[in-house]
């Protein structure tokens, strides 16, 4: 259990620092930043304690919120995707993920994309809903959700490719 805790703490810190020091300043096309810290939530061990996972997702979002002065929008969106992750896992990988220890790097590309895309879109939608906090700007919310999600998915998928250890 020791190394798992250690590596997840390291991941937590890297996720926060990568987000607030690098990705918050990319401003692609003037305003698009990838929200890469959700990579931590996507990759968190699938068989971990759910309460612990919820609390960690909350703390992760809150830390990013603290750095980017967004109140609690990141925390809110992170808690939502942390809570619905098991349902999305079951949808994407079938019932099998519960019985065998599925690792994201070893799954089929299509299934992995389904999993990443669903969670990213839900996260970004709730994030912008709370960041903009004005339902009359729903078009801006949806536009941001779409563009930011595409950028985030691109970055996360690329990094899964880059950092995965090839077994086959």
């Amino acid at each position: 259990m020791g190394p798992t805790i250690f590596w997840n703490s390291v991941r937590f810190i890297i996720a926060v620092l990568a987000q607030v020091l690098i990705c918050n300043h990319i401003n692609f096309l003037g305003y698009i930043d990838p929200l890469v810290y959700i990579y931590f939530i996507l990759l968190f061990p699938f068989n971990a304690n759910r309460s612990l996972f919820l609390v960690l997702a909350f703390l992760l979002g809150l830390t990013v919120d603290m750095f980017s002065d967004t109140g609690g929008a990141h925390a809110f969106a992170s808690v939502i995707i942390a809570y619905i992750r098991p349902f999305v896992l079951r949808f994407a990988f079938g019932i099998s993920y519960e019985h065998q220890s599925v690792k994201l790097e070893n799954t089929a590309f299509g299934q992995r994309m389904v999993y990443v895309v669903i969670l990213t879109f839900i996260h970004h939608f709730f994030f912008f809903l709370l960041e903009i906090f004005n339902i009359s700007n729903i078009l801006i919310i949806l536009r941001n959700t779409l563009f930011f999600s595409i950028f985030t998915i691109l970055i996360t998928t690329l990094s899964i490719f880059l950092f995965s250890r090839k077994n086959s």
Partner: protein, 273 residues
């Protein structure tokens, strides 16, 4: 009792989920209201310290443009100084501490800039230890930047003019008609001036300055020029797009303005007086 405990244990994840959701929702609502002391902000030792460290490196990359700005401001001040009708020697010394000192300027440095979000909040490197308090105006040599919001011991957050809750009193330079400056969230170089009456004669490229109606900024701080204007839906007020003088995407050294008569003015204007 046993049933309640069983229920709680069975649904503990859901209850935890709802609890965390409500907490973050409360933080969010708080962050969208003006002047509420916020728990989650970047004016603390951890985020302030980290931003300060990274800024000490990244500030080297903007040295050249900062130097240019300094030279430009020096040139402007020299012009003012040497073109005065009465020379500097003629000013008599006034033996009083409070005479004509309305505003205190303190220099600060922006260590976290933000302009691409809907609600942009900046971070400056001075706080309560430098007598910074909420509701002080922040400007630089080219124009306004924002208003101080949350203050930590050595850092403070600034609500940028590029923020949906920012409302700043502004007026036309050549007449005294005033309105409210806000931002629609689209372009970081263009802000909106509202509540200017239809009878006012407007021209493109008219200069907009801060009005003296609020205690945040002295009158006459530069804001920008009129880019275009249309009548609003009720056809009696203008919607004006203002091109900012300031490049909000490239900010480094700023001044924080303290209005020394603010308390007095606020007391006089308070409705229950």
């Amino acid at each position: 009792m046993q049933q309640i405990i069983n229920f709680l244990r069975k649904n503990r994840n859901f209850i935890l989920f709802v609890l965390l959701l409500l907490i973050s929702l409360a933080f969010t609502i708080q962050s969208h209201s003006y002047h509420r002391s916020k728990f989650i902000n970047s004016a603390n030792w951890l985020s302030g310290g980290i931003y300060e460290k990274t800024n000490s490196i990244s500030s080297y990359f903007t040295l050249e443009s900062e130097n240019k700005r300094l030279v430009e401001e020096n040139r402007r001040l020299k012009m003012l100084l040497h073109n005065r009708k009465d020379s500097i020697d003629a000013i008599t010394f006034i033996d009083s501490t409070s005479f004509a000192t309305n505003y205190l300027f303190r220099s600060a440095k922006i260590i976290k800039n933000s302009y691409a979000r809907r609600n942009n909040v900046l971070l400056i490197n001075i706080g309560t230890s430098d007598s910074i308090a909420t509701d002080m105006g922040v400007i630089n040599s080219s124009g306004i930047i924002g208003v101080v919001d949350e203050v930590g011991s050595s850092h403070a957050t600034v609500i940028s003019v590029l923020n949906s809750i920012s409302k700043i009193n502004a007026q036309l330079k050549n007449t005294n008609h005033f309105g409210t400056l806000s931002w629609d969230g689209n372009n970081p170089n263009i802000v909106q001036l509202e509540d200017i009456e239809k009878i006012v004669q407007l021209k493109e490229n008219d200069t907009i300055i801060t009005g003296g109606n609020s205690t945040l900024f002295p009158k006459g701080i530069m804001i920008g020029t009129i880019k275009d204007f249309t009548l609003n839906t009720s056809k009696n007020l203008y919607d004006i797009n203002v091109q900012l003088f300031n490049d909000m995407t490239n900010l480094e050294h700023v001044f924080v303005i303290e209005n020394l008569h603010r308390e007095e003015i606020d007391n006089l204007l308070a409705p229950n007086n």
